[in-house]
Structure formats: structure tokens, C-alpha cells
Subunit: 164 residues, 2 copies
């Protein structure tokens, strides 16, 4: 089970958009060039972020995207769910109902909760989402600023500003 | 991002094999009938469990499968990874190296750890696996015995024993 590559791209794009000056926009073309990914595919990831209300775009020659919310108000989970959706990684298809020993009354039992297997799987899905929800884009910017050599961080910032 | 249906089937099959008498085996056909799933597809899930050393099979007319380890020694994670593999749900393709501002020295920097984005994604993957690792097949059997009406639990047990 693997996340789409677009999740990786979307997270990197958000981390770059987080560094734009207020009211600055960055074009899909620039984001694609900076990350070395195909513009056409990246467009879909950006569209997903836009549909989720995480980024906002303008059209025209100087058009592009910027974050729609403060970096402290966007979590990793927001970005992952924008691309992958929020449906659980585990789908219970209710195969216990196929048990030839189960009567109609067993299956229709109103008190019957979700299957014990589904409960465990959903709990693990929740643990994954909770972990993603605990890290905000503002935390990521702090990590990147610590990790990336100061000179590269500065040059990248200048490259972005020249295109924003 | 969704797990294969085979994960659901494999977990249900393990929960049933956990109720077999010592040295009893249950045929793929019986497991398929009990869960109402296609025998041919279920065979692949069982083969994956066998390859992972979780169940063991015998051939012949009375052939089938049984657990290869005690129920307290098989976790949800074991079953999920038998079917889905143990590779992380997030693959870092290293797109930060495509940054046109990065020099060869930046990219080759020996001190450079994994990307901050990958670290967060891998931590969430670990939270998911830790949650799955925390529940054993023996815990599941206890939950099922509490959840399932006593009469249905007994009839299902008899159905299985008659075919083991």
C-alpha cells in the first residue's frame, strides 16, 4: 500500500509556497521546475490542494498559487487527504455476513457493532492520521530551515522570489 | 490509499484458523465458503500468509492450513505485512535533489539526513504499524468471543470442526 507520488510533490510545493511574500503567487511552471516533476501531473496535485481549500490560485501571465491559510493552520494530514481523500485505508466489506451459520436475525441484530477486525484496522488508520495531524506546515518550515545548508536555503528563497 | 481486500480476508481466515484443534487443518474451500469469497483469490492471500510463516499447509484430500505459531505470537501487523509487504506507505523519491539551486556539493553532502518531509511521513507510517503490532490474534479471538452472539459462535465453531 503506497501513497501517490503526488503526496510528496504536494508537500514540497506547500513548503515552498509557505515562503512566499504576502500576496505573492508562484506559477505551476516554477514549482514543476524547482522540483523536477512534470508540470501536467503536478497541475493535478495543485488542483487537489486548491479543491481542498489549502491553496488559492490566480489566472493570467503572472498567475499561480499561494497558500490559502496560515502555515500554522495547515497540517500534513490536510495535504495528504487533499490528494488521497479521507476514506479509511481499511474498507470493511462485511464478509462476516457471508457466514453460512449466521441467521437473518444475527445479521440484522441492531446491537451488533462493527466487526472486531475492522475496529483494530480503523484504530491503526486513526493512529496514522493523528500522527500526520500533529505536524503543521509551520513546523516543517522550521525543520527545513534547520536542515538545509544556509546558503542553499538563501539561494532557493531568491530563486522563488524572482518568480513570485 | 487502500489496503487490498485480501488483508480483510487474511485476518478473518487467521481468526478462524485460531479456533482449530491442535493439528487440525482447514481447507481453502471451507475458508472460502465460510467467508463467501472466491476460492481462487483467497488462495493467493493464504499463500502470502504461508510465505510469511504465519500458517502452514498440507496437501491431499484432507489438506488445508493451520496457524504456524501460537495466536499470542501473531500480530495484526504480521498479517497485514504478509499481504501488503513491509515497505513504507511513503516513498521518498528525493525530489529535493532536483532543485536547480542545489550544487553537486549540496547533493553529495554526507551529513545530509533524510528530507524533513520524509521523516514526518515515515513517523506516521511507524505509528500505523505500531498500532497494528499492538494487537495479537489472541486479543482478536477474545474480542470476537465477546462480540459474537454465543449461539452463532458455537454454530460456527461446530461448522469449522466438522471440516477440520
Amino acid at each position: 500500500m503506497q501513497l501517490k507520488s503526488q503526496v510528496e510533490w504536494a508537500l514540497h510545493c506547500c513548503s515552498i509556497l509557505a515562503g512566499l511574500p504576502p500576496e505573492g503567487y508562484l506559477a505551476t511552471r516554477a514549482l514543476a521546475e524547482l522540483h523536477g516533476v512534470p508540470k501536467e501531473y503536478l497541475s493535478k496535485a495543485l488542483q487537489a490542494l486548491s479543491n481542498a481549500g489549502l491553496i488559492t490560485g490566480t489566472l493570467g501571465p503572472s498567475g499561480g498559487y499561494r497558500l490559502a491559510r496560515p502555515t500554522s493552520d495547515i497540517t500534513f494530514l490536510d495535504v495528504v487527504e487533499a490528494v488521497e481523500g479521507s476514506a479509511s485505508t481499511f474498507v470493511c466489506t462485511g464478509i462476516r455476513d457471508n457466514n453460512p451459520c449466521a441467521t437473518r436475525a444475527d445479521i440484522d441484530d441492531c446491537d451488533r457493532g462493527p466487526c472486531a477486525i475492522a475496529r483494530v484496522m480503523w484504530q491503526a488508520d486513526k493512529a496514522w492520521r493523528d500522527s500526520l495531524r500533529s505536524v503543521r506546515l509551520s513546523d516543517l518550515r522550521d525543520s527545513l530551515e534547520r536542515d538545509i545548508p544556509a546558503d542553499l536555503w538563501r539561494r532557493t528563497g531568491e530563486w522563488v522570489l524572482a518568480r513570485a
